[in-house]
């Protein structure tokens, strides 16, 4: 079976297409940045600190009642929402100053089972604001270190123009994925940071595979322009790019639908990231390298020992 016909000759990198792709990418990145600047992110308790309770009720929970009970007990700033099932409720509170974690827990438990139901405290988290800001810093640090190391690796294996292309594509993917979370107000927690880094890894995988073929074709196809050589390479790798993306999306959809609510933001980040990443490894990465005027000469290692020249054909 074949997903796409034997030999595709899609002009991915033609001047007109490149312009369209550039506009799309630019729009996506700008929209993401604007959303991040204006709407910000729905940071999870990991980053903001505070109290979180996941409560299981014996029957469908009445959110309105829970809210009014909480606010009557002095927890007026509580966020109450359903979590996956009808019977599961997530209660979130900002850090409670002047109180002891144990006391708050007991008090909340009493308020939540005001009607005498026996509730199941499935998860209780108290995070101080201090830990939260540290975790946020470390997440950002991880992102920067990963991008730097990848830049260096691709530079060693290929050349700096490819590095620039790869990192441009990765930054594009990371920004758009995070922007997606900002735009739709999805909860952004530690697992999403992990997912964004996994997206970087995945998208890079795609990009490097394409670069590898481009390098091969730069040498194999003599007298062909860099643009054409890149176009041919991307076409040759198209089946692989789509199939790997498809199998990965298959398992991620399984994870999203079956993995439960707490892992859902992680799955969404990866699904968005992989779609964007597949697009960017086709358009952004190669287009950037091309814009930097990459050519076969860039990949030829300088000959260190001049006597070896005699052996060349």
């Amino acid at each position: 079976m074949k997903l796409i016909k034997e030999k595709t000759t899609i002009d991915f990198l033609g001047a007109k297409r490149r312009k369209i792709a550039l506009v799309i990418s630019a729009l996506l990145v700008i929209a993401s940045l604007v959303s991040l600047a204006t709407r910000g992110l729905e940071f999870g308790i990991d980053f903001t600190g505070g109290i979180l309770l996941e409560v299981g009720y014996p029957q469908a929970a009445n959110l309105e009642e829970i809210r009014s009970n909480l606010s009557a007990a002095g927890f007026s700033d509580a966020q109450v929402q359903r979590f996956g099932r009808d019977t599961d409720v997530l209660v979130r509170l900002p850090p409670q100053p002047g109180t002891d974690a144990g006391e708050v827990r007991t008090e909340l438990q009493q308020v939540l089972q005001a009607n005498g139901e026996s509730i199941d405290l499935r998860r209780v988290e108290f995070v101080s604001a201090q830990v939260g800001s540290e975790l946020a810093e470390r997440g950002a640090l991880a992102m920067v270190i990963a991008l730097l190391m990848i830049f260096v690796y691709v530079m060693i294996r290929f050349q700096w123009k490819f590095s620039a292309g790869a990192v441009a594509a990765l930054a594009h993917d990371a920004i758009v994925t995070v922007g997606f979370f900002s735009f739709f107000g999805l909860p952004f927690d530690l697992t999403v940071v992990a997912a964004v880094l996994a997206v970087i890894g995945y998208s890079l995988n795609d990009t490097v595979v394409a670069f590898d073929r481009i390098r091969e074709n730069f040498f194999a196809l003599r007298g062909v322009s860099a643009e054409d050589a890149m176009n041919i390479s991307i076409n040759e790798m198209l089946a692989r790019t789509l199939i790997t993306g498809l199998t990965t999306l298959l398992v991620l959809v399984a994870l999203l639908t079956l993995g439960g609510e707490s892992i859902a933001p992680f799955s969404i980040a990866l699904i968005v990231g992989i779609i964007v990443g597949t697009y960017s490894s086709i358009y952004t990465a190669s287009a950037t390298a091309l814009a930097l005027d990459v050519n076969a000469q860039d990949l030829i290692e300088p000959i260190k020992d001049p006597t070896l020249i005699d052996d060349l054909p």
Partner: protein
């Protein structure tokens, strides 16, 4: 063409078998058990195992199995009732020396156990439990050390008959002398007391300032955290939790993990309380310099106490709760230095009153000008004042507590004092129902995702897809094997990592298969197509996987908690998928198609 040498085939086979063996312990379920660990961290021997088993059998309970594991005794039972009864019995008899915990343990057959194999360990989000992150108050650790210096210098200068005043503020001791003539002598005395401290002359020529050096401060901090770790371990052991974890994190943090515990409140008291005792003489004149008034606890009368501490909590080596003349009491044993001082004090102060001061440190969060602030509250209360009737040294008793307070105080004192107070900055409790849900959902996602990929591969790549699926399955087995071998905790994000690996692992095979198809289209013979397909895809596979590995390693290095769990499975997945795709499937392809005439390649 396309034949592996025999040794390579055998190597692949050996690795696959080893993977299966390491993953094997995960297929057995778990069973009720009691785990007994020595409180002092010693390792139990066979004789001790037999003794415990006799105690259990003496209660009319027949264990299902019993054995030693990492110096601990594990006794398995057929029912929860048996387990609980046996746990009760053992706890009653050994509560002083051993940590007896009821738990679930993997139901491994003897031969698997004897090979030293164990299943994956599950993270708290999968098995339920309490996670607490504590911060050690380093300032207090330094302050308390400086206070000791202050008292020491004061004593020595007085002994040398040098008139002086010693003040302590901001971790800086200022010694004011009456004249410049004593400066040299005072300096000498201080440097003799501790040659490492930094002593500086004041500008007026008659003051000295003393502070700790950076190295001393760092040593003191390390000491404080190490001692707190030991103390917390001891205290946690008294809780009867199986496999508790108490571990240093970073400069001033301690992680405590208690699998299976549901109520963090039972912990709070023993984790963060820094209850300790001090013994001081009552200042009967009430106007000695440095004397201070201490409130009494409950009905106990307040007292003005002298500044000098006779003995403090860190000199207590044993404390037992009991009754003395019908009153709840704590029987205390001091170390030799404390005993010596106590002996001297009681000799010199016969028939004078001495007080026991109970000191508790707590941290409160308060709002000041709209900003959240942490405030440390130190409660110092006289719990007992008694007239010194006779000379005593190491052992004595104190009264004036309720029976429960006596028990708690004895426990805290026995487990050792904390060198510095600790404060909880992160607490997470995961209920058992959520843990089980997470396991079920996670494995469901793996199952369905795996099936979907397998189906797709067979439809798309036919026979070669089948081979890729064998590789994919062994990949899963290898990840489980490695996780079991490394005993790295499997968490929900870890499961997500496995799911992601399943999706990405086929990539290497896809690269190879697509290349083979290309070679065939380009007119290569079937055997040649297979050969160069593998050959030419290699560099792409390596580059692509190494870059992903870089991202995973960074995640592992920088990340915490859930991120680390994800990074581990991702790293393992990348490594095992490279092996299965490049060498594993090649071996199968070679065996199936290599060295014979092929009309076409079923790819």
């Amino acid at each position: 063409m396309n034949k592996y040498p025999a040794w390579l085939n055998i190597l692949v086979l050996v690795i696959v078998l080893a993977g299966c063996l390491l993953a094997l312990p995960n297929i057995y379920g778990s069973v009720e058990a009691v785990q007994i660990a020595d409180n002092d961290g010693g390792e139990y021997e066979q004789a001790k195992l037999n003794e415990f088993v006799r105690v259990v059998e003496g209660a009319g309970i027949t264990p299902e199995a019993s054995y030693l594991q990492d110096g601990r005794v594990v006794i398995r039972f057929n029912s929860t009732e048996d387990q609980e009864a046996a746990g009760e019995r053992l706890r009653g008899q050994y509560s002083r020396q051993a940590n007896v915990a009821t738990t679930l343990t993997p139901k491994l057959p003897e031969w698997v156990r004897n090979l030293g194999l164990s299943p994956m360990s599950l993270g708290l989000d999968l098995r339920g439990g309490v996670y607490v992150l504590l911060e050690v108050d380093m300032d207090t650790a330094i302050d308390s050390r400086m206070a000791l210096y202050q008292q020491d210098f004061d004593d020595r200068l007085r002994d040398a008959r040098i008139r002086h005043r010693v003040d302590l503020s901001d971790q800086l001791i200022t010694i004011r002398l009456t004249g410049a003539e004593d400066m040299l002598k005072a300096r000498e005395i201080i440097e003799r007391a501790d040659p490492d401290v930094l002593v500086l002359d004041g500008e007026d020529g008659k003051t000295l300032t003393v502070r700790m050096t950076e190295t001393q401060i760092k040593d003191r901090q390390d000491f404080a955290i190490e001692q707190n770790l030991t103390t917390l371990r001891n205290r946690v052991n008294q809780l009867g939790v199986a496999e508790p974890l108490v571990q240093r994190q970073g400069v001033d943090r301690i992680v405590v993990q208690l699998p299976g515990v549901q109520d963090p409140n039972q912990l709070n008291k023993i984790l963060t309380a820094t209850a300790t005792l001090e013994f001081r003489l009552v200042d009967q004149s009430g106007d000695e310099p440095g004397s201070r008034r201490y409130p009494g606890r409950g009905a106990e009368a307040p007292q003005v106490l002298k500044r000098q501490v006779i003995a403090s909590g860190d000199q207590i080596i044993d404390a037992k709760a009991g009754f003395s003349e019908g009153q709840p009491a704590v029987f205390i044993t001091l170390d030799s230095a404390g005993g010596e001082r106590m002996l001297q004090t009681t000799m010199e102060n016969l028939n004078k009153p001495m007080s026991s001061v109970f000191i508790e440190t707590r941290r409160e969060t308060v709002m000041r000008n709209g900003v959240e602030e942490q405030r440390t509250i130190k409660i110092e209360e006289v719990i007992n004042t008694a007239t010194i009737r006779g000379v005593f040294k190491n052992s004595f008793q104190i009264t004036g507590l309720t029976p429960i307070e006596a028990r708690d105080l004895a426990l805290l004192l026995r487990a050792g004092a904390l060198a510095a107070p600790v404060y909880k900055i992160d607490e997470r409790t995961i209920g058992p129902s959520l843990g089980q849900d997470n396991i079920d959902r996670g494995f469901n996602a793996i199952k369905i995702g795996f099936l979907a990929v397998i189906l797709f591969m067979v439809i798309y790549y036919k026979a070669f897809g089948l081979i890729a699926n064998v590789a994919l399955f062994s990949n899963l087995v290898f990840i489980v094997a490695m996780l079991s071998f490394l005993q790295a905790s499997l968490t929900l994000p870890g499961i997500a990592g496995i799911v992601l690996t399943v999706g990405m692992a086929v990539d290497a095979n896809v690269l190879i298969f697509e290349r083979i198809r290309e070679e065939i289209t380009a007119g290569a013979s079937p055997q040649n197509a297979i050969h160069s397909g593998y050959e030419k895809a290699l560099s792409s596979i390596t580059d692509a996987n190494i870059t992903t590995l870089i991202a995973a390693v960074v995640l592992f290095g920088v990340g915490t908690g859930p991120i680390k769990g994800f990074a581990i499975t991702l790293m393992l997945g990348i490594i095992t998928s490279m092996f299965t795709a490049i060498i594993g499937t090649r071996a199968v392809v070679n065996l199936a198609f290599g060295g014979r005439k092929l009309v076409s390649v079923p790819v």
